[in-house]
Each structure stands twice: as structure tokens, then as C-alpha cells.
């Protein structure tokens, strides 16, 4: 017993060592450095440029006024409180603490004379250190924007840190629920065991409920309420002058207690949950590929074009996953709902009222929202190659031209992304009523075309940098939004400059075609230089 306890600090040291090595490896690889440079430097420049033509500060006071007028304090408490409840549910049905395990642990750490809580503790610390570093870098990179919004202050830092501790606290709550599930299911096998969730959700939610959240004990003792107060104080919404630094300390204590408590209860069951999760992954892909073989007969297809075969293969293999099915259901209902809103304009869901004096400057914000939302919806294009996992090598060695593969992936991604983004854009169109700016929603189309091409390119480059094609290296993954935001920023800037003149009708499509062709050409090159 005593021997194994000495091991914990050693395990922690080893985790930090691995992280450090990773960092050094990145520094030594010029291609990685370039990508990091592009990503971080690019983001910083984009943030500076955006903040130079967009003065965010004037939006804040009306927005805060709007929030204060329309959203009650207790509603904020309840909404933030729901986050904790959601984490509890997510943890219960998800992986919980076994999330920190990796596949190599299975035969190295799980078979070693090490206790699960030691492993959990070491891994968790590595995760949190890493998260902190990402957040610090992130804050530095977007600091120009924060400055322009006059948000770059101590209170913002406190808010961010409090938010992190709060989210980690929620993670511990989820971890508890995951462990609880294995314990309950060991003795109570029926599905009714899931009912245990009801009392848990209730207990977690009560302190955030409007009836109780005004109680000072709950307000200053329950993490979700405390973090709500910190956020409200630092943005000046419903401010009562609460001592946010002191609240931060209390949140930290809650975080720390949660951490200790979870570390204590972690036991060998997390290995079991981990093993099960891994097998489900394997089973899912196994089952899918079998069914495809059973149902789609490629020899009978009418299409002679290899590009169509790849599209068909992707379509069928995607359709077999439950997520995809629900996605299409969402598209159908989302579009129907959007059209309903636009046609009927129901009273119970009115658009955000926009004072006319802000209309001009809000147009810029509107375009930025379009950039951001388009970026959010094009993620499937990045996954087009990543989802192939090791099969990418099969595809690469198959008798298709790289060009056909790239084009197939691109067309399929564009179709899918266009469909899934429709509901979102209808909603934006409905809610953000900026006089005379509605036509700008069509800016989404060229962006979508270009952003999808970026996704394909970044995805195609993954196997160039690593021989583990399902795990894109961090800088590569980050370069995806960065490149897109930069191009999106460029397009917005062009519209602002030339929006009034006709040249833009020629300019924008040309630019779009240029970027699409450039990125697809680069993708083809990437495919031909796999590692």
C-alpha cells in the first residue's frame, strides 16, 4: 500500500513529461511550427483587423440594457444551473472519469500495480494544465477584440477562470454520476435503474430554481449560482456589487472538493467502462461496414464515374449511423419551422428589436455572425477525410485519381453542409432584423463553398503530417477555423468597401472560385504526398 502511494507524484511527473515532450516535438517539426504560426499569428491579426473596423463597445450598453429589461436574474440562475444538470446526465450516460484513459493504458497501466485513482489523478492534472495553457493562448490571441469591447480587464479574467472551475466542477458531477451508474447497475439490472437520475437531477437543480435561487445560502454556496453572479457582475447585468474575487475562491474550493471526492471514489469500474466504450466504437464501424456490403451493390450502379462511387459509398456509410439520420430529420423540421416563422411571424417568438441608430454598425456584426455560423456548420468537410480513419490509405491506393477523390469528397461535403446549415440561416434571417441588410445572408453561400474546401484541404493534409489519420494534430485542426475566419474577414471587408458598387458581383465569385480551386489543388497535392 505505502509503496503505491509514493507512485502518485511520479505518475504526475510522467504525465507532465509527456506533455512537455509533445511541446518539444512540435517545436522541432518545422511544418508544425508553421501551422502554429499561421494559426496563432493569423488569429491575432484577424482579431486586430476586425477590432479596427468594428468598435464593439457601443453594442454593449444597449445589449446589456436589453438583457436587463427582458431576462430576469432568476432566469439566468436557472439556465446556468441547467448546465450542471446536463453534465450529470452526460456523465451518467457517457464515459465519466474513464474519459481520461487512452488505448495504450489498457495494456500498460491497467495491467500494472497502480490503482485507478492514481492514474485518474495524474491524467486529470495533465488535462487541466493543458487546458489552462490553451486558454491563456486563446485570450492573448483574441485580446485585440476584448480590448475593443473594453472587456480586457481583471473582471474578465476572473470570469474566465471561474467559468473553467465551474465547468470542471460539472465534469466531476458527471464523473460521479458515471460511477453511480456502474454501482447501481451492478445490483439493479433493469432499465428502471435509470430512474435514479430523477432525484439526482432534482437535487442539483433545486438551488438554481427561481423559488430558491434568491436564498443567499444557495446564491453564494452553489457553484452554478456563484458563476452566474460573477458573469453578471463583470458584464454589469443586474449588478449588485457582489465581491467576485471572494466568489471565485469559493468556486475554487468547490472545484477542489469535487476533484478530491471524485479521485477517492474512482475505482476499477472505470476500466470496465473504458473497455466497453472502446468496443462500442469497434462494433459500430463493424456493423456498418457489414450492412453496407449486404445492401449496396456497387457493381450494379448506373454510374460509370469513380467520383460518383465514392460519393455513394460515403452517402451509404454515413446514412447507416444514427447521428446522420437524426441530422436529416433536423434539417426537414428545421427548414419547415424556419419557413413557418418567416411566413407567419408568430407573436410568441418575435425577432430581436434593433434600434435604428445601430442599424449601420450592426450590419458588420451581422456579417461576422454569418462568418462564424458558416464556420460552425462546415465541420463535416474537415471530417470527410478524418472519418475514413485508416481506410484513407485504402482509398489512396485504390485505382482512383486523387483529383476524383478530392472532388467527390468536396461535392458531398458541400451538399451536406448546405442542407444542415439551412435551418440555422433561416433562424438568423428571422431573428436578426437589420433593415436593408437581409440580402447579406447570401454571403453565406460563397463562404460555405470556400470554407468546405478549406476543410477538405486540412483533412487531406492530416495523413501528410501523421501516420494516425484519425487524430488531426492540434495545430492543423486549429488552422481550419483560422484560415476560414481570415477569408471570411476578407470577404466582409470587401463588402464593406465595395458593397455599394457593382464590381462586387464580379469580384466575390471570382475570389470564391479562386480559393476553392486553390484549396482543392492543394488537397490533391497533399493526397499525393502521404507520409
Amino acid at each position: 500500500m505505502h509503496m503505491s502511494d509514493i507512485k502518485t507524484p511520479f505518475l504526475v511527473r510522467m504525465e507532465l513529461r509527456m506533455m512537455f515532450n509533445q511541446f518539444i516535438r512540435t517545436l522541432r517539426a518545422p511544418s508544425m511550427l508553421v501551422f502554429y504560426g499561421i494559426t496563432l499569428g493569423g488569429s491575432f491579426i484577424v482579431a486586430s483587423v476586425v477590432s479596427s473596423f468594428l468598435d464593439l463597445a457601443p453594442y454593449f450598453s444597449p445589449m446589456i440594457q436589453y438583457i436587463e429589461d427582458n431576462i430576469e436574474k432568476s432566469a439566468i440562475f436557472s439556465v446556468v444551473g441547467l448546465l450542471t444538470v446536463a453534465s450529470a446526465l452526460g456523465g451518467y450516460f457517457g464515459l465519466g472519469p474513464s474519459q481520461v484513459l487512452e488505448s495504450s493504458d489498457e495494456h500498460i497501466m491497467m495491467t500494472a500495480p497502480v490503482r485507478p485513482h492514481q492514474l485518474f489523478l495524474a491524467r486529470y492534472l495533465r488535462r487541466i494544465v493543458r487546458k489552462m495553457m490553451y486558454i491563456i493562448i486563446g485570450v492573448i490571441v483574441i485580446s485585440p477584440l476584448l480590448q475593443s469591447a473594453h472587456l480586457f480587464a481583471l473582471s474578465l479574467m476572473i470570469t474566465i477562470v471561474a467559468l473553467i472551475f465551474f465547468l470542471e466542477f460539472n465534469y466531476f458531477v458527471g464523473g460521479f454520476c458515471s460511477i453511480l451508474r456502474t454501482k447501481v447497475h451492478a445490483v439493479w439490472k433493469s432499465r428502471a435503474a435509470h430512474l435514479i437520475l430523477l432525484p439526482i437531477a432534482a437535487v442539483l437543480y433545486v438551488p438554481a430554481m427561481p423559488e430558491y435561487s434568491s436564498n443567499p445560502i444557495f446564491q453564494f454556496g452553489y457553484p452554478s449560482n456563484m458563476v452566474s453572479i460573477i458573469i453578471m457582475e463583470s458584464f454589469g447585468v443586474h449588478s449588485i456589487g457582489a465581491p467576485i474575487a471572494a466568489l471565485l475562491v469559493v468556486i475554487f474550493i468547490a472545484f477542489f472538493i469535487g476533484f478530491l471526492a471524485l479521485t477517492i471514489v474512482v475505482d476499477y469500474d472505470i476500466y470496465e467502462v473504458f473497455a466497453k466504450g472502446r468496443n462500442e466504437e469497434v462494433e459500430a464501424t463493424g456493423g456498418i461496414s457489414q450492412r453496407i456490403r449486404g445492401q449496396v451493390d456497387f457493381s450494379k450502379t448506373r454510374f460509370k464515374d469513380p467520383m460518383m462511387w465514392i460519393i455513394l459509398k460515403d452517402f451509404w456509410s454515413k446514412m447507416r449511423t444514427p447521428v446522420q439520420f437524426w441530422k436529416y430529420v433536423y434539417v426537414v423540421f428545421g427548414v419547415a419551422f424556419g419557413i413557418y416563422l418567416l411566413l407567419v411571424q408568430p407573436l410568441w417568438m418575435t425577432p430581436i428589436p434593433i434600434p435604428s441608430e445601430f442599424a449601420a454598425s450592426l450590419t458588420q456584426a451581422f456579417m461576422l455572425v454569418i462568418v462564424l455560423f458558416t464556420q460552425m456548420t462546415v465541420l463535416p468537410s474537415l471530417l470527410a477525410f478524418v472519418d475514413e480513419k485508416d481506410n484513407i490509405y485504402l482509398l489512396r491506393s485504390s485505382p482512383f485519381r486523387s483529383r476524383d477523390i478530392i472532388l467527390a469528397k468536396y461535392l458531398f461535403a458541400v451538399v451536406e453542409v448546405s442542407l444542415t446549415s439551412l435551418p440555422l440561416f433561416l433562424l438568423i434571417l428571422y431573428f436578426m432584423r437589420i433593415p436593408g441588410a437581409a440580402y447579406l445572408i447570401f454571403l453565406a453561400a460563397p463562404m460555405l463553398l470556400v470554407f468546405s474546401a478549406t476543410g477538405i484541404m486540412v483533412g487531406a493534409y492530416v495523413p501528410v503530417f501523421t501516420n494516425d489519420p484519425k487524430n488531426p494534430p492540434v495545430p492543423l485542426a486549429f488552422s481550419f477555423p483560422t484560415i476560414n475566419l481570415a477569408i471570411g474577414g476578407l470577404m466582409v471587408w470587401l463588402i464593406l468597401l465595395y458593397g455599394k458598387s457593382l464590381e462586387i458581383i464580379v469580384f466575390l465569385p471570382l475570389l470564391t472560385v479562386f480559393f476553392v480551386i486553390l484549396f482543392l489543388a492543394l488537397s490533391t497535392r497533399a493526397m499525393e504526398s502521404f507520409k
Binding site: M14, R17, N21, R25, H107, Y268, Y271, E272
Partner: protein
Amino acid sequence: MQDELELIHQMTGPELIRLAEALGVPLTYRHVSRAKIENDLVQALKLHWQTEKGKPVQKLDIPALKISNLHKEFGSKVAVANLDLEVHPGEIVGLVGPNGAGKSTTLRVLTGIIKPTNGQVTVNGYDIRKEPVEAKRRIGYIPERPTCYPSLRVIEYLTFVARIYDVPRINALLRIREFVSRFQLDEFLNSYIGTLSKGNLQRTLLAGIFVREPPFILALDEPIYGLDPRGAWSLKSLLRELRDDGSAILISTHILEVAEALCDRFVIMNHGKVVGTGTIEQLRESNPGATSLEEIFLMLTGGIPEV
């Protein structure tokens, strides 16, 4: 002592310095020949062993590995049904069977990765469920698909394992050197594991097992599979040596030549059940007409196919 001199001779500079530190040999002079340092270290080691002499030699429990009535289900799929198996110290047992027979599942249960649905596993006398840490102290496991932490260097991994398994520092230094030489890992010592080829990864994992102190209870899942002929040969000869020194070894494989050449006893599995056990002679006796392990295997797992 000759062996240790040899090992010290093979050590790199940093390794010598670490060993000197561990033995308390001062390295204060500015210029000194390597031979002198090596000599000093051997003397210090001699002294060190003398003080260690009183310690009892580690021995495994008998049987080293005992699986009784093991049953494992995945949902409704029975992967292993009522398996009984013992491995004694000084024995190599081959767990053979076609794909999907349940070999890997058996190894994963006995190493404590997954729980059995039913049944009991004792490793070196400790129940793997009740005293997992004690039970795992002696287990060395190589999985079917080897992987390792990509951002560790090979040498870091080896020292890491030595620490996790409480190998005293001096022994760890000597053993790491021994197995690095044995598995020809010298040129990769400072490589990141993520950059190793499959065979070298396998060797690193094997070295990671053997830097621990014998005797071992080994559970090796298709260990020969990723190795080149030289690697395979040196692993086989190493396993025989370890067996003769009192380790207990269980190897899962469907490469029957390897099994026949290496194992003292066989357990043949099919569809999760044991369909035959014993030495090759015993198996021949109970399956008249079959001469080689291959023929016995085919007879027991669905009949010899007609050509």
C-alpha cells in the same frame, strides 16, 4: 560478475554516470579512462550485492496462474465458456485456437483489464479482483495490437516501467541495459515511441516487461506476430531461458509452428470452449490418426478439410 562487467562495458556515458550515482561512486576527477570507471563500478557492485545477499530469492506461487470456471459474455455473445486453466512456474503453455475462439478475451480477463462474468482468476496466489495490485505486480502482458505512449522516449518509457514496478534503481539500470542490448534498441533509446516501426514498438514493450525483476507471469497475445525472424528467434530463446528460471508463461497464438516448437503444453480453444488440452503426446493419444499439432488442431476445431 563477468556478465555485469559486460553490461557495464556496453553502457553509454550517461548510463555510467547514473549507475555511479546510484552506487555512490564519486566521479570527481577531471580526466579518467573509461576502463577505470568501469572497474570502480564493478567493485562497487560487488560490495552492493554482498549487502543484498540476505534477501530471499523471489519465487512464484504454485500454480502461478489459476483460472477456474471462467465465463465471459459480451451482451448475449459468449466469448469464453467455463474455462479452467493452470500455468505452473517453469512452464510455457500455448493457448491455441482459430480467430474468435476467445483467446484474447481470456488474456484480458486474467490481466485484470475486464471483469469475468463468472469464475475466478488467481495470479501468484492473489485473486485478480480482490487484490488486483498484488496480483498485477508479476504480470507481463503484450496485447494483440501493441501501442504505447507516442510522446515518451524509449528510455523514458523503460525507466517509467521500472519505477511503476518498484525495481530498485541499480537493478533497473543494469536490466535496462541488458534488454536494450538484447532487443537491439540502442539506436532508438532517444526516439519518441510514436516514431517507432511496429517491430521496434513490440521490442520496446517486451523490454518494458523484462526490466522488471523475474520471475514473471507472462500473458502474451500473438507476441511473435509483429517481429522479424531475428526478433522472433531472440524472443523464443529468451522465453525458454525465463521458463528455466522459473517464470510461468501463457502464449496465445494461431501460428502452430511457433506453438509446437516453444510450448510444453497446449490448451486448444474453439468457440469459447476448451476442446483439447495436454502435451503434444497426450493430444496425439487422444486424437488417433493425427500426427502434428496442426492436424490435431484441425480435427478439434471442425475437421481436416478435404482437398
